[in-house]
């Protein structure tokens, strides 16, 4: 249990960090807000208004810690329908009504709503939303505006648009399409380039900066008009005075029509699902491992949505990409959300005329990338590896959503899942008889261990997962839990996925989460999330080793090491390192270790950020188990970025009499005196005279790595040698 802290003091201490991350987030929020609003056929400023109102209201009243709110990509599909069928005025009223419903969901503690949908159906729905965004904006990105009634038609016409774009004769259109293509390539390749100065500004902001720069270059450099066609520039970003002047009381005429109610329901459903999924994902990234108050957040978002609709903005939801950027830039509490809103206000007040210099295709490229990420082929391969039936559910939801609508789509997904579960088990009775039974039992074992024991009966699927969740949520994450499925006949992939999330969460917060009783249930695929039932399909996949792997094997033989190429999905020994606090470890592999020593070297794959801000990084690391305790610290090379971070409240610890070391290295940690003592002459000299590595201590082990990419065989040798010598230096000096 976390002890109570001095809140005000901590808050002020963390303020600079939060202002900094709020600023970085606002750099993404600005282009995304403009783009999402335009994709929804609303005026561009509507997205910014949503982010501002949301940021202010939710940061004050919300219940989560490091989330960012604003206009959501999931809502584009619904808003598009709402705006086109109701008109903009009534669409704002619909937004306000959905805000009221969201408020009610919060009051009725419906934060569990998203748990009632099978994960494959949600994936299918999100992919459909991605295709809706991608299909529509792709044409604008290539400066080929078209208007069709059906979303599928937009997708079918993509090849024609590409063909047209190749044969453009008009210079305005060529430049517009080029702006789109360059912007798309920035989005695509940004995460591949790991340069810290480049990464300081998020990709969407690069697009904005470059396109505004381009326009100024033509105006002042060449004294020419901007060559991009007029109709492909952002229009109508009003000044702040105009927004205030345009305020009018919403008209409630025609709100009893069927399409209006449908829009309100769809807006509420999608915004709650998107919010709940995002909060769940962000909670896993929170470095302080806090738990969000979902219902309180829903209430705050509802209120913010009402306010946003009143001021002419879009729905306010919790957004995953911006939140993960927020966490990665060191945000610690809700104030960063507030500052992100504040910076947006500053942008609008001072730079609203500059915004009209951004070409539409450039902005739409950001959205095309977002859409692609939502519907990326990776999702389909992941679905397929979980099981073929998941792919079926996924496509049913996807197609129905595209063809008819979001609510019908997700309902179709739920029904398809249910039917498939019945077919797989060859029994509807299993579900009908037991769905209403309180099938989850949890108790604290009253012996020495005080373990929480959870037993689940009959079946556990998306239908009754909320019962299991309700029990699991009452367990503090630093405790031990055993979930026993041995009385279950069927466990579905939605539950397996959620259980996996709990396991990660407990591992990060120092508890243990074990699952037993699944061995008697069998799966059709090897994926850990595959649904489980009684059946036998043995499957053996044999993989060949790559060239790097064989050379590592040879190296292992030369140096008398043991080599293991297998993936270890849950390397728990890495969880206590500060470096992984905001990162998600996927797996470690290619492990080299000494038989009798505590040094091991391995390749690791981890991811940073979520969704469009997600970057998967593979690198090689060295782990030394010191078998004794040393202070926790992080050591890295000193650079420009660290100077920036220093502004944001991180402090470098100076080591006396070693100004060279202090100048060249950047040393971080809480226990300053302990660290200063630990870095004695021997150790400091060792670092001064050896190549740079990022070195981190978690109290009793060291983690050492060089660049954020896989090491070559030569670099592996160097790293191994460095670790060995460092280990000896520490051993002799302590």
């Amino acid at each position: 249990m976390i002890p109570k802290k001095n809140n005000t003091k901590d808050f002020i201490k963390c303020l600079p960090k939060n202002i900094f991350s709020g600023f970085v987030v606002s750099l993404i929020a600005l282009p995304l807000g403009l783009g999402l609003a335009m994709a929804s056929d609303a005026p561009p400023i509507a997205g910014i208004i949503a982010a501002i109102v949301g940021g202010i209201v939710v940061s004050i009243l919300g219940g989560s810690h490091v989330t960012i709110v604003g206009p959501g990509n999931g809502l584009v599909g619904v808003l598009l329908v709402a705006v086109s069928s109701l008109g903009l005025e009534s669409a704002y009223v619909a937004i306000m009504c959905s805000g009221v419903l969201l408020l009610l969901l919060g009051f009725f503690r419906m934060g569990t709503l998203a748990d009632f949908f099978p994960s494959s159906a949600i994936q299918g729905m999100l992919a459909a939303i991605g295709l809706i965004i991608l299909g529509k904006q792709f044409h604008i990105m290539l400066a080929h505006k078209i208007k069709r009634n059906d979303t599928i038609d937009y997708l079918i016409e993509i090849p024609y648009t590409i063909n047209d774009a190749i044969h453009y004769g008009n210079k305005g259109l060529i430049f517009a399409a080029l702006a789109g293509i360059i912007s798309l390539s920035i989005m695509l390749f940004y995460s591949k380039i790991r340069n810290k100065y480049l990464q300081l500004i998020p990709a969407p902001m690069w697009i904005v900066i470059l396109s505004i720069g381009f326009s100024y270059y033509f105006e002042f450099g060449l004294h020419e008009a901007n060559p991009i066609a007029k109709e492909y520039m952002i229009s109508g970003v009003p000044a702040i005075q105009q927004i205030i002047a345009d305020l009018s009381f919403p008209s409630f005429n025609g709100i009893w029509s069927f399409s209006f109610l449908g829009s309100v329901l769809a807006l509420t459903l999608i915004s709650s699902i998107e919010t709940l999924l995002s909060i769940k994902a962000v909670d896993k990234l929170d470095p302080e491992k806090r738990r969000s108050n979902v219902n309180r957040d829903l209430k705050a978002l509802g209120l913010a949505t009402v306010g946003s609709g009143l001021l002419g903005g879009l729905n306010v939801v919790t957004v995953i990409a911006r939140s993960s950027v927020n966490v990665n830039n060191g945000a610690t509490n809700r104030s960063s959300n507030f500052f992100h809103a504040l910076f947006l206000v500053i942008f609008i007040v001072f730079f609203s005329t500059q915004l009209t210099r951004i070409p539409l295709p450039a902005l739409m490229a950001i959205l095309v990338y977002t859409g692609y990420k939502l519907a990326s082929p990776d999702i389909i391969t992941k679905m397929f590896s979980i099981g073929k039936e998941q792919l079926f559910i996924f496509f049913i939801t996807l197609l129905v959503t595209l063809k008819i609508g979001l609510i019908t789509g997700i309902l179709a997904g739920v029904i398809a899942t249910l039917i498939i579960h019945i077919i797989i088990n060859k029994s509807a009775g299993l579900f009908l008889r037991n769905v209403l039974k309180p099938n989850v039992l949890m108790f604290k074992e009253y012996d020495d261990t005080h373990t929480f024991y959870v037993s689940v009966k009959h079946f556990c699927s998306f239908l009754n997962y909320f019962r299991l969740k309700k029990q699991l949520d009452t367990v503090p994450e630093d405790q031990d839990v055993i979930v026993d499925f041995s009385l279950c006949e069927f466990v579905d992939d939605t539950v397996m996925e959620n259980i996996h999330n709990y396991q990660e969460l407990f591992a990060k917060r120092g508890g243990h989460f074990d699952v037993i009783g699944l061995d008697k249930l069998d799966t059709a695929s090897e994926h850990p999330f595959a649904l489980r039932r009684i059946l036998t399909v043995p499957k053996i996949i044999k993989k060949n080793l790559t060239r790097r792997q064989t050379s590592m094997e040879v190296l292992a033989e030369d140096y008398n090491l043991t080599y293991n190429s297998k993936k270890d999905k849950a390397p728990s020994f890495l969880n206590n390192f500060l470096f992984f606090n905001t990162k998600k470890i996927n797996h470690i592999y290619n492990e080299l270790s000494h038989k009798n020593s505590d040094i091991s070297l391995f390749d690791i794959e981890f991811s940073e950020g979520e969704f469009i801000a997600k970057e998967v990084i593979r690198t090689t690391m060295l782990h030394i188990d010191l078998k004794q305790s040393i202070p926790e610290f992080t050591l890295d090379r000193e650079g420009f970025l660290e100077k920036v971070y220093a502004f944001a409240g991180f402090k470098d610890i100076p080591i006396e009499n070693h100004s060279d070391f202090s100048n060249r290295f950047y040393l971080l940690g809480e226990n300053e005196t302990g660290i200063a003592k630990f870095f004695n002459d021997d150790i400091t000299r060792f670092f001064e005279s050896n190549p740079y590595y990022h070195v981190e201590s978690n109290g009793n082990a060291l983690l050492i790595f060089g660049r954020e990419r896989l090491a070559s065989v030569k670099e592996i040798k160097a790293l191994f040698d460095f670790g060995k010598r460092l280990n000896e230096v520490i051993k002799t000096s302590l």
């Binding site: 309180r296 309180p438 099938n439 039992l441 024991y453 949520d473 009452t474």
Partner: protein, 282 residues
Amino acid sequence: MSLKHFDSIGIGVAFSPNLKANLFEAARLSVFFKAKLFLIHVGEASEEKAKTLHSTLKIFEKDNIDYELVFKTGNPVDVILSISEENNIDLLILGAVQRERILKYYVGSIARKITRQAKCSVLLLIKPSIDRIPCDHIVVNGLKDPKTEQTILSAFYVAKKLKANTVTIVEEINQDEVSVKVNDDKSLRKVTILKERIEHRENSRVKDVISHIPEKYAKDIAIKLQPIFGKKGYSIGHYAQISRADLLIMNAPSKMTFWDRLFPHDIEHILTELPTDVLILQ
């Protein structure tokens, strides 16, 4: 607090493949409790039937078994209920039905009606067996209910007679007693503290009940307390199942209305899925 001994035991007899196992279970119990056994058959009396029953129970004659055959025609439910009342039967034994293929047991419609209406205690057996399966672990409810003290006392009486060595008293605590809802870390901390306090309170209440149990019944029996936050009547069955209890002892429900059957609670949950042998005490 007075203990009601089981002086007469009744069992419904049907000439099914299970007959021998049922009779053996009933006979063994009547030997353990030194009770008179009533074999109730719904149907015409015949020499042949009586002969079968006599020959089956011959093996228990060395244990001085005292038994009586009762034949009567009519509606099975009414017949069994009326005969148990006429003969002042203290304990009625009923067999459960196994759901096909899987190891799940439930109480059939006739047995269910009898259970609901019986004025005596009822023992529901899931797997009657010819050889004795020892009864080691008994789970009994420790609900906050006026009947509970009596039930726990009877549980120890039964445990002594059946030579069980562990009795677990399960205190089912309604989730509603925890007035705070878990939202975030702060409320979670509150809930954890509140739950500990409730568990403490329940444990001390049950310990008080145990202290009143006569030495002769409680001697040599390990007593465990297990508070559980969950649905009344259902979670105790679930617990009995996972703790592999041999017998579950529960209070009889206070009253039974139409609504209780539609929205099952307490005992009704147990009847639809028997976790183990269940003794419902009147």
